[in-house]
Amino acid sequence: MTGLFTGAVYSLVSIGLTIIFGTIRIVNFAHGEMLMLGMYLTFFLWSILGIDPLVALPIVFAVFFTAGYILQSTLIRPIQKHPIHAQMLMTLGLLLVLQNGAVLAWTADFRRVHTPYTDLTIRLGQDLFIDFPRMVAFLASLIMSLGLYIFLTKTYWGVAIRAVGQDSETAEILGVDVKRVYALTFGLGTACAAAAGTLISTYFPIYPYVGTTYIVMAFIVAVMGGLGNFLGAFLAGLVIGVVETLVAFGVSPLLRQTIPLVIFLLVLFFKPEGLFMIRLRK
């Protein structure tokens, strides 16, 4: 169960990564830092204003959607036509600045958000307990993923995002404001990561390097699901979460991150297009 819960959060982070890749064709190394900043914003909303993380969720989402929108327009747009390595180095530079900026501003200390339900567990059976915060994170992740799916399939901007992802030139000819779609997508992806940060902040320590832990998993999940594939990322996130937890409990906690990597390399080798070939179609 814990695996499924963790997996749903991985899904949310990876969906953000994968829609950015699918549409803008850029691998955002700083994606994990958005999650980290989302956690810090949640922490400060809670510690200074006393806002519960769950109430803070829409605030964080809105703030980071705007931040992502601006970030894309200022930093990413000028380099979009540059070769792969230039784009990669741009987001890598952003990662270094944000991560170490966080160390500078808030030190490398661990922080925690304490809510009345942080230590709450629900008993389901004889030996079956569920962490309440994890369950909330799971449910919220599912709802947000579903919401995103509906947005991408049913609304004008959602369809525009997918159209640009498939063929940006044709989309532009057909009257889609491609520049705005790019900024919108980046904002959306960024907001997903930050929202995931908010959700895990109720049970996960907050520190400047937390992004790195999640970004590696997010990459693995996104590639396994097929880069740019929404449903693939969602399912792969759940799978990786379960595998990771099974390894941690069944084999050894030390190999938690190693086994998913082995799976990742096997997927790259045998099925580079991703495990889940269900395409997002209307």
């Binding site: 380099i79 540059h82 741009m90 270094l96 170490n100 500078l104 590696v216 590639v223 390399l265």
Partner: protein
């Protein structure tokens, strides 16, 4: 030989510096400048010449360092031998990673290098054999060439590093202008066209990454000998990989002299900032900003752009 002659001559001329000053700070900063020039030259062989961008070279650095350190501290094997074993291990590791990933293009290799370096770091943090987060500390000996430890004067480190750097520059030059190197460049420019001309892209990529990783492993071994202490976080974090690729980027990707020139700009600057500001993170932030600015304005590298714009036209006029 072209510009390589000037680079080598410049590096040789540096060898007088330890005779002029005894200052440990100067020698140490110079050591790191040479080390990162060396590492970036290694990175450039794979990423600059062959176009297979790696953001996980810290993994190879770590393997070289850990192999040398473990062989020395547990079995008493001289670092001079351990260094080559470390290089071999790093090269083998690179081949193992390259095997599944080089059949793919573009992002997949980049992502794999990042993931592999991170997992190796977390693995070393958890593994008893590598000393977990405590790392491995060397027992201190007196100054000894065989043990590769120098305390009274840091100059021998400098000279050893200089010798390795000059070798790597010559290797890089040889590759760049050999048929092998031209094949690498053609793969970078257009893999399909290269293949249609009878070049096997997979084999060339494997050769380039093995060579690149092996050299990086040597760099790791030398770094371990210099610090006499190794630990996963400072050796294998993502920002170390960034440090390795930055000099090439600043100097000029895909050139022989670019990594050296870049390192001589970045490292002294970084150390001045670090010592001057007394902070362990500000210089990383500044480097991140530098990275973004360079990529946005002059993606071909500072030195390459300056030469292209100002030096070459003047030479042609004459």
């Amino acid at each position: 030989m072209g510009p390589t002659v000037y680079v080598v001559a410049f590096l040789l001329s540096l060898s007088v510096i330890p005779m002029l000053t005894e200052s440990h700070v100067v020698i140490d900063v110079l050591f790191f400048t040479l080390l990162y020039a060396f590492l970036s030259t290694a990175w450039n062989i794979q990423s600059g010449f062959c176009g297979q961008y790696s953001v996980g070279h810290a993994a190879f650095l770590g393997i070289g360092a850990y192999t040398t350190a473990i062989l020395y501290t547990r079995l008493g094997i001289s670092p001079w031998l351990g260094l080559w074993v470390g290089a071999g291990m790093a090269a083998l590791f690179a081949l193992a990673i390259g095997f599944p990933t080089f059949r793919l293009r573009g992002y997949y290799y980049i992502l794999a290098t990042l993931a592999v370096a991170e997992v190796l770091r977390t693995f070393f943090l958890a593994w008893d054999f590598t000393g977990r987060s405590l790392g491995i500390a060397y027992p201190l000996t007196e100054d000894s060439f065989w043990d590769l430890q120098f305390h009274t004067s840091r100059a021998p480190y400098f000279y050893i590093m200089l010798a390795f750097l000059i070798c790597s520059v010559l290797i890089s030059h040889w590759i760049r202008y050999s048929k092998f190197g031209l094949n690498l460049l053609s793969i970078r420019e257009d893999e399909d066209a290269a293949q249609s001309l009878g070049i096997n892209p997979f084999r060339h990529k494997m050769a380039a990454t093995a060579l690149s990783a092996g050299l990086t492993g040597i760099g790791g071994a030398l770094l371990a000998q210099f610090n006499l202490f190794i630990e996963p976080d400072t050796l294998m974090s993502l920002h170390v990989s960034a440090d390795i690729l930055l000099p090439s980027l600043v100097g000029g990707i895909g050139t022989v002299w670019g990594p050296v020139a870049g390192s001589f700009i970045l490292q002294p600057l970084s150390w001045i900032l670090r010592l001057g500001l007394g902070s362990d993170v500000i210089h990383i932030i500044i480097r991140g900003i530098l990275l973004m600015v360079i990529v946005a304005i002059i993606p071909r590298g500072v030195v390459a752009t300056v030469i292209e714009r100002y030096v070459r036209p003047r030479l042609i006029k004459r």
